[in-house]
């Protein structure tokens, strides 16, 4: 049966997803709180896989918790920590436990994380991971051996619409589509005109695009991201808007900006939905939705 997330995307409705970052440790209370807060307000919750190469409770564990609590998970899988044997095995487990939506990523580099001497695996890359899933669906593993029971998964990937240089990024985007990616989550976008141009290009492909919305909590954060995060450019007007917010009001301003962007994307049908990342501030996601005029 098709996942609810896939159904939502195919229904033409403007889809909202958000993110759950599992904790570092076995105390899951905070994660449960975030799940309970968001599960009925969004179409699916995307669980990060040792984001930024920081060792945490596993992504599949977060997905199981979401399902136990009545939410819909998207399993993020990176190629950094597992070879093809482990990746395939985890896909079998995920499918068996009822996970149907997978976001395939390369994964950040080991040295940016908190176990910096670890071996980076990258036995597969994101395009190969997508192809592997197609093969598991066809009933065999990457070694060409028959499976007793296959999988059927809705797979997505990421794209950075403002990468520099852009063309290699778009070539890879197309390779991901050829490998069966059906939905894409973008790197954070802030310049809607430029994003609309990307969408004009992306619309020629039969895929659904969720714009990445990263909450800006201060002008400093906006400047930092523009200077340091690949493919993120916050326009000067937004930085000024944040800087001019009354003392202690920058976060509120950031929520307003995120809400405004979502409303704009939705009203003008620029893309198929948004993926909201409120890194470490999951509790304000409902406020962002309210600011966007979405009540759940």
């Amino acid at each position: 049966m098709a996942s609810k997330f896939k159904q939502a995307l195919n229904s033409g409705k403007f889809v909202i997803t958000s993110e759950i970052g599992p904790p570092k440790g076995t105390d899951l209370e905070k994660m449960y709180e975030h799940i309970d807060l968001l599960k009925d307000k969004v179409d699916a919750l995307n669980v990060t896989d040792h984001q930024s190469s920081v060792m945490r409770f596993p992504s599949i564990g977060g997905c199981l918790a979401i399902m136990e609590r009545g939410g819909k998970p998207i399993l993020q899988m990176t190629c950094r920590d597992r070879n093809r044997i482990a990746l395939q095995a985890d896909l079998l487990l995920a499918y068996n436990k009822g996970v149907r939506d997978i976001l395939c990523l390369t994964g950040d580099a080991v040295p940016v994380g908190d176990n910096q001497a670890a071996k980076g695996v990258f036995d597969l890359d994101s395009v190969q991971l997508l192809h592997s899933i197609r093969q598991l669906e066809a009933g065999s593993d990457l070694g060409g051996n028959e499976l007793a029971g296959a999988v059927e998964l809705y797979t997505g990937a990421t794209v950075t619409p403002e990468a520099v240089p852009l063309e290699p990024q778009l070539i890879k985007f197309e390779k991901k589509i050829e490998a069966g990616a059906k939905f894409f989550q973008t790197q954070a976008i802030y310049d809607l005109d430029r994003f609309a141009k990307f969408m004009e290009y992306a619309r020629q492909f039969p895929v659904k695009i969720l714009a990445g919305i990263v909450l800006l909590s201060s002008a400093r954060m906006a400047r930092f991201m523009t200077a340091n995060v690949p493919g993120i450019f916050v326009p000067q007007e937004l930085i000024d808007e944040l800087a001019q917010a009354p003392k202690g009001g920058a976060l509120k301003k950031g929520i307003e900006i995120a809400g405004r962007m979502i409303a704009d994307l939705m009203e003008n049908s620029i893309c198929d939905g948004v993926h909201i990342m409120a890194i470490n501030r999951e509790e304000v996601v409902p406020d962002i939705l309210t600011a966007a005029g979405i009540s759940a």
């Binding site: 950040d108 980076g120 890359d125 592997s132 950075t160 990468a163 520099v164 290699p168 890879k172 493919g231």
Partner: protein, 219 residues
């Protein structure tokens, strides 16, 4: 081709030779001389350091190319000083260390860390060029090796970390896929970038790798 090395911190070498008092020193006249890690000057400096630690250096030699068979002969020529030592400190890459190790029964101690096999780009500037993967794909990647030039060894294009043509792990380093893209574009072969590279065979020749060059080959 050059084997790129750096000197181990002297404290680490000191620990490795803790129980030895009489030491023979070997340097290398090729790569380690060029990288200034195991040439005549560095071997003499090491001799001084060991002397200051109260160790006796029974002799030293800088072998023209420590990794080839000549090494055994050079050790034989210096047999007395070598026999007199309790261990040999080798200031060559790990190939030199292993070559000495195979021609001598007593403990062999590396004084260098071998970093990579590289090419010289500019004076004193080296980059890792090949990981000896056993199935070369340079013909499809504009002669630039993504296995070594890309931090993650990706095959199908850049990760999301490319930043203005630089790699996410180090803004000083180029992103392999920007280089490959630019070169292929110049050559009018961008279609190669669109080609899907299936998962790589990492067992082309399972370790330990060995081969026998047969005399009739090449005829």
């Amino acid at each position: 081709m050059k084997s790129i090395t750096k000197q181990k911190p002297f404290d680490e070498v000191k620990q490795l030779i803790e129980t030895f008092n009489r030491i023979y020193l070997i340097g290398c006249g090729t790569c380690a001389t060029m990288t200034k890690t195991g040439g005549i000057d560095e071997v003499q400096a090491m001799k001084e350091l060991l002397h200051d630690e109260g160790k006796l250096v029974t002799g030293w030699v800088v072998i023209p190319t420590a990794c080839d068979e000549m090494t055994a002969e050079m050790i034989a020529e210096n047999e007395k000083a070598v026999q007199d030592a309790q261990c040999i400190i080798v200031m060559a890459c790990a190939l030199g260390v292993q070559r000495v190790n195979s021609s001598w029964q007593k403990p062999v101690i590396p004084a260098l860390d071998t970093l990579f096999v590289g090419l010289e780009e500019g004076p004193g500037e080296f980059f890792e060029a090949c990981d000896q993967c056993g199935q070369c794909i340079l013909g499809e990647t504009a002669g630039i090796c993504p296995l070594t030039a890309c931090h993650k060894g990706l095959l199908n294009g850049p990760c999301g970390g490319t930043n203005n043509g630089k790699c996410e792990v180090d803004p000083e380093k180029d992103c392999a896929f920007t280089l490959i893209y630019e070169r292929l574009k110049e050559q009018g072969r961008l279609d190669l970038m669109r080609k899907y590279h299936p998962p790589k065979n990492y067992q082309v020749m399972p370790r330990p790798r060995k081969t026998m060059v047969l005399p009739e080959r090449g005829k």
